[in-house]
Amino acid sequence: MLFGCSNNQKECIDNQINPNGDSELAIVMRNLFDNSLEIKSHIIELDTLKSNKLPSKLIEKFTYNLNLLHSAKPTDKNLRDDGVYQAFANAYINTSEKFTNNLSHKNFNVMVNNCIQCHEKFCLGTIQKINKLYIRK
């Protein structure tokens, strides 16, 4: 389990998707994507928007993963050196909270956009996938 990742010195978690092992943060972000996809499927329904309520279990999972953005071990050990990642993460967390307090397609897309802005800086590869979260009219 302690192999791969980056620089051969990371604690990586073995999994089905990545034969090199994934960092904790990579798994957190994958979970956030899955949570967001599930959220998207709920807010497509206008009733959910009207009630301004998502299933509590889903919000619980999403919030749990959001809270790990600042502590999970990253693939690149220097990620948090200059504070840029933290700023992006805070922006994403803030817009996520704004969305969960006030469910709307616009707020959801703002949240997705924040996610993409961070990836534009740190990891371009997954943007193609994140783009699929946008709610398009």
């Binding site: 990545n18 960092s23 990891c123």
Partner: protein, 152 residues
């Protein structure tokens, strides 16, 4: 007699182990090598059409050294092809450079931005001077959403 059987068995075992290749499949687990084409055939195809859904056999030149999320494969003496994986849904072993792969997906010609080119160099642990030297977008062959990769 016993000795002869032993020699024959040893030869059989040796020849088997010598020929057997460990095949690893990433992504589409139902992928087979049926219908695979060569890199020469791929280049011919892309010289007359914009894109083509292919299964192409090629040698891996380099792989993302951060997490195995992309690889360059050899097309000919002058060309490589960048392969990325659909929906970031699977990765390849970072130590597989030099191995042969069959890649399934839509092959095309695309232009990569400076940001992307720099990012790929960073992932490959290239020296900073090499990264800084990138100032122009580049047109490349790519499979940007490979659905399966077989490596042996």
């Amino acid at each position: 007699m016993k000795k002869s059987i032993y020699i024959i068995l040893s030869c059989l075992i040796f020849s088997c182990s010598n020929q057997s290749k460990q095949v690893q499949i990433f992504g589409n687990q139902d992928m087979t090598e049926d219908g695979k084409i060569t890199t020469k055939e791929l280049l011919q195809t892309l010289s007359v059409q914009d894109s083509a859904f292919v299964k192409v056999e090629a040698v891996i030149n380099s792989i993302c050294q951060k997490k195995g999320c992309w690889m360059y494969v050899d097309l000919d003496d002058n060309n490589e092809m960048l392969v990325r994986f659909k929906d970031y849904g699977f990765f390849v072993p970072m130590e597989a450079s030099g191995d042969t792969a069959i890649i399934e997906g839509l092959a095309k010609v695309e232009t990569l931005s400076v940001e992307w080119l720099k990012h790929l160099k960073e992932d490959a642990n290239a020296p900073q001077e090499e990264i800084d030297a990138i100032t122009e977008p580049e047109t490349i062959y790519s499979i940007s959403e490979a659905t399966g990769v077989m490596i042996y």
